[in-house]
C-alpha cells in the first residue's frame, strides 16, 4: 500500500484523455467527493444560524461563478451584477406571486430572462472594451434599477415584493436546512457545468477572447458571438442566484440590488481568484463572512472600546476596501492561488529545491 502522506512531485500526463480530465488524478477525485460529503452532512450538526450563513455564501458563490465566467474567463468587466441579480429575483417574484407559477418553473425562467437582459446589455461589448465597457455595464445597473423601482404595476416599486419559499409536492422548503440543500444542489450543478464549459470549444474560445481578442478573431473566433454568449451564460447563473436569494430572504426590493452589491461580487471574484471556479467559492465565503466576523469582533471588543459599535458601518467599508487593495497588491490571483501555493509547497516538502 502506498504511504498516504506521500504526495506526487508533479502531474505527468501521457495522453490527451488524462490531460483533459476534470480531476487529473484519482486522489483528487476522492478528495472532491470527501469534500462534497462533508458539505452535504455538515448541516445535520450545525445550528440554524450557521446553516443560514452557509446558504448565503453558497448563493453568492453561484452568482460569483456566473460573474467569473464573464470577467475572469472572458475578460469582460461588468459592474452591473447587482442589477442582474435583481432581474433574476424580480422575475421569479413576479412569476410566483403574480402568475402563481411554481418555483421550479420560475427559477429557470428567471435565469433565462436575466440571460436575455444580460445579452442585450452585452451588445455594446463588440465595440467597447476595458474601461468603456465597465462604464456601459454601470449604465445597465443604473437603468435597470430605475426601471425596477419605477414600474410600480409590475414590481411594486420601492416597496418591493414578498416571495414565498418553494414547495415540492406537499413539502415546503421552510427550514434553513432544507433550503441549504436546495442551494447546495444548484451550486454543485453550476460548478460542474462551469468546470466542463472550459474544457469545451466555447470555453476555450472565451479564454482566447480574454487573452487577446484581436488575435482570437484572427484565429477564426467570432468575437461578437462569443462576447455576447459570455454575457448570456454569465447572466443566466447570476439570475438563478438572484431567484434563489429572493426566495431565501423572501423579499425583493430595489435597494437590495444597488451598486454596492455589484462591487461586492467583483470583490468576491477578485479575492477568490479571477478565472477560477473554486476561487469564486472561496471568495464568496470570504466576502460574505467578512462583515459577520467583523461584527462579532466589535462586539467582543465593546467592553474595552464602547464607542466601537457606533463606527461599525464605516469600519466595514474601510476593511472591505483594504481587503480589495491588499489582495490586488500582494496576491492578484486571489485565494485560489494562495491555496495552490500551499499545495505546491507540500508537493516537494521537505526538499523544495
Amino acid at each position: 500500500m502506498r504511504n498516504p502522506f506521500v504526495m506526487d512531485c508533479g502531474e505527468f500526463h501521457v495522453n490527451y484523455k488524462q490531460d483533459m480530465a476534470i480531476w487529473k488524478i484519482t486522489r483528487v477525485r476522492l478528495r472532491v467527493f470527501i469534500l462534497l460529503a462533508v458539505f452535504a452532512v455538515f448541516p445535520m450538526f450545525a445550528s440554524d444560524y450557521i446553516i443560514g450563513l452557509a446558504t448565503l455564501c453558497g448563493i453568492a458563490a453561484i452568482g460569483a461563478i456566473g460573474l467569473n465566467i464573464l470577467t475572469g474567463f472572458t475578460g469582460q468587466i461588468s459592474i452591473g451584477v447587482g442589477a442582474f441579480l435583481g432581474v433574476g429575483g424580480y422575475t421569479s417574484a413576479i412569476l410566483t406571486a403574480k402568475l402563481g407559477l411554481s418555483f421550479w418553473i420560475a427559477m429557470p425562467t428567471a435565469g433565462i430572462v436575466t440571460a436575455i437582459v444580460g445579452g442585450l446589455f452585452g451588445l455594446p461589448s463588440l465595440r467597447l472594451k476595458g474601461l468603456y465597457l465597465a462604464i456601459a455595464t454601470l449604465a445597465a445597473q443604473v437603468i435597470i434599477l430605475f426601471v425596477i423601482s419605477r414600474w410600480d404595476a409590475l414590481t411594486g416599486g420601492t416597496a418591493g415584493m414578498v416571495l414565498s419559499r418553494p414547495e415540492l409536492g406537499s413539502f415546503v422548503f421552510y427550514s434553513e436546512r432544507s433550503y441549504y440543500y436546495l442551494m447546495f444542489v444548484v451550486l454543485v450543478i453550476t460548478a460542474i457545468f462551469t468546470l466542463n464549459l472550459f474544457r469545451s470549444r466555447v470555453g476555450r474560445a472565451f479564454i482566447a477572447v480574454r487573452d487577446r481578442d484581436v488575435a482570437a478573431e484572427v484565429m477564426g473566433i467570432d468575437l461578437f458571438k462569443y462576447k455576447v454568449l459570455a454575457f448570456i451564460v454569465s447572466s443566466f447563473f447570476v439570475g438563478i442566484a438572484g431567484a434563489l436569494l429572493g426566495h431565501y430572504t423572501m423579499v425583493v426590493s430595489p435597494e437590495l440590488y444597488s451598486i454596492t452589491v455589484s462591487i461586492e461580487y467583483l470583490a468576491i471574484i477578485l479575492v477568490g481568484g479571477l478565472g477560477s471556479v473554486f476561487g469564486s467559492i472561496y471568495g464568496a465565503v470570504f466576502i460574505t463572512l467578512l462583515p459577520v466576523v467583523l461584527r462579532s469582533g466589535v462586539e467582543m471588543m465593546s467592553g474595552v472600546f464602547p464607542d466601537l459599535s457606533a463606527v461599525l458601518i464605516g469600519m466595514k467599508e474601510v476593511v472591505f476596501g483594504l481587503v480589495i487593495i491588499l489582495f490586488l497588491i500582494y496576491e492578484p490571483q486571489g485565494l485560489a492561488k494562495i491555496w495552490k501555493n500551499i499545495k505546491d509547497y507540500f508537493k516537494l516538502w521537505p526538499f523544495s529545491y
Binding site: Y132, A139, I143, R150, I259, A267, V311, G321, L322, I325
Partner: protein
C-alpha cells in the same frame, strides 16, 4: 419660456461643476490610464475638511478653501504613492478594483469621522436673488459659475504655458518619449492625482454650498463617468463640453419629464445618454480612437 431659461441656467451651473470634476477624472486617465472611481470620495473629503474648518475653527471661507485645497493636494499625492503606484502597467480590472477599494476605504473614513447627517455651509454668499431679465438666480449659482470658469481658465493656461503643464501633456502623449526627455513620469502621475483631488474638492464645496453636505454627495463621482465618456475619456475640452451637455440635459429632464414619471429620471438620464453615445461613438465626442495591432 421663463421656466425653460431657469432650467437652462441651473443646468449650466451644475454642468460646469460636473465639468470641473470630470476634468480631474480625465487628467488621471490621460496621464496614468486609470479610471478613478474614488473621485466622488475626494470630493466628499475636500468638502468636509473645508466645512469643518469653517464651522469648528471659525476660519474665514477663503482661508478655509485654501487649506482644504492644500489638504486635497497632499491627499492626492499620498494616495497615488501608496495605493496607485503598484498598479502602473497592471490589467484594467486591477486598476478599476483598486480605485473601487480606495473609494470604499475613503467612504468608510468619512463615515467614521463625520457621520451621516446632512450639514449645511454657513451662508457665504448673499441670499438676495439676482434678476436677469425674467429669470431669477441665486447668487451662489453665479459665484459657482464664476469660480468654475476661473478654474478652467487657470488650468488651460497651466497646460498651455507652464513647464509642468507641458510635461503633463507630453506624458499623456507618449510616456516613453517623455521619459527619455528627462520628465519624471512618476512625478507627473502624482501631480495629476493631486490636481484631480483639488478640482473635486472645489466642485464639492460649490455643490455643498448649493445643496448641503452629506455622504450622498459622493454620487457625483459616478455621475462624472457619463460626462467623461461623452466628451471622450482623454479629452479635456471634451470633459468641459460633456459636463455642460449632461448638466443641461439633466436639469431639463428634471424640469419637464420628472413630473410625468414621478421623479428619479433626472438621475438616470446621464446614463441613458451614455448608452446611446457608446452605441454610436464608442470613444466619445472628442476621444482618441485606439488602433490595435496583434
Amino acid at each position: 419660456m421663463t421656466f425653460f431659461l431657469q432650467m437652462l441656467v441651473t443646468g449650466i451651473v451644475v454642468g460646469s461643476v460636473y465639468a470641473l470634476v470630470a476634468l480631474g477624472f480625465v487628467l488621471i486617465y490621460k496621464s496614468s490610464d486609470a479610471i478613478n472611481f474614488a473621485q466622488g470620495e475626494f470630493l466628499l473629503i475636500g468638502t468636509y475638511v473645508c466645512l469643518t474648518l469653517i464651522t469648528a475653527y471659525n476660519i474665514p471661507f477663503a482661508a478655509a478653501l485654501l487649506i482644504a485645497l492644500m489638504f486635497s493636494a497632499v491627499l492626492g499625492f499620498v494616495i497615488e504613492r501608496i495605493v496607485l503606484r503598484p498598479f502602473i502597467g497592471e490589467p484594467v480590472i486591477s486598476m478599476i478594483m483598486a480605485t473601487i477599494g480606495l473609494s470604499s476605504v475613503l467612504a468608510g473614513i468619512v463615515h467614521i469621522i463625520w457621520g451621516h447627517e446632512t450639514r449645511v455651509f454657513p451662508k457665504i454668499f448673499s441670499e438676495q436673488p439676482v434678476n436677469l431679465g425674467e429669470i431669477v438666480i441665486a447668487p451662489v449659482y453665479l459665484w459657482s459659475l464664476l469660480i468654475v470658469v476661473v478654474m478652467l481658465v487657470i488650468f488651460t493656461l497651466f497646460f498651455k504655458y507652464s513647464k509642468l503643464g507641458i510635461a503633463m501633456r507630453a506624458t499623456a502623449d507618449d510616456q516613453q518619449a517623455a521619459m527619455s526627455m528627462g520628465i519624471s513620469v512618476k512625478m507627473i502621475f502624482a501631480v495629476a492625482w493631486a490636481i484631480a483631488a483639488i478640482v473635486s474638492a472645489v466642485g464639492g464645496i460649490l455643490l455643498g454650498n448649493i445643496n448641503g453636505v452629506n455622504a450622498s454627495l459622493s454620487a457625483i463621482g459616478l455621475k462624472v463617468l457619463p460626462v467623461a465618456i461623452l466628451g471622450g475619456l482623454d479629452s479635456i475640452p471634451g470633459a468641459i463640453i460633456g459636463g455642460l451637455i449632461i448638466g443641461i440635459l439633466e436639469s431639463l429632464t428634471g424640469g419637464y419629464l420628472d413630473p410625468l414619471v414621478g421623479g428619479g429620471l433626472k438621475e438616470v438620464m446621464p446614463f441613458v445618454i451614455l448608452v446611446f453615445i457608446l452605441m454610436f461613438k464608442p470613444y466619445g465626442l472628442f476621444g482618441k480612437k485606439e488602433i490595435e495591432r496583434v
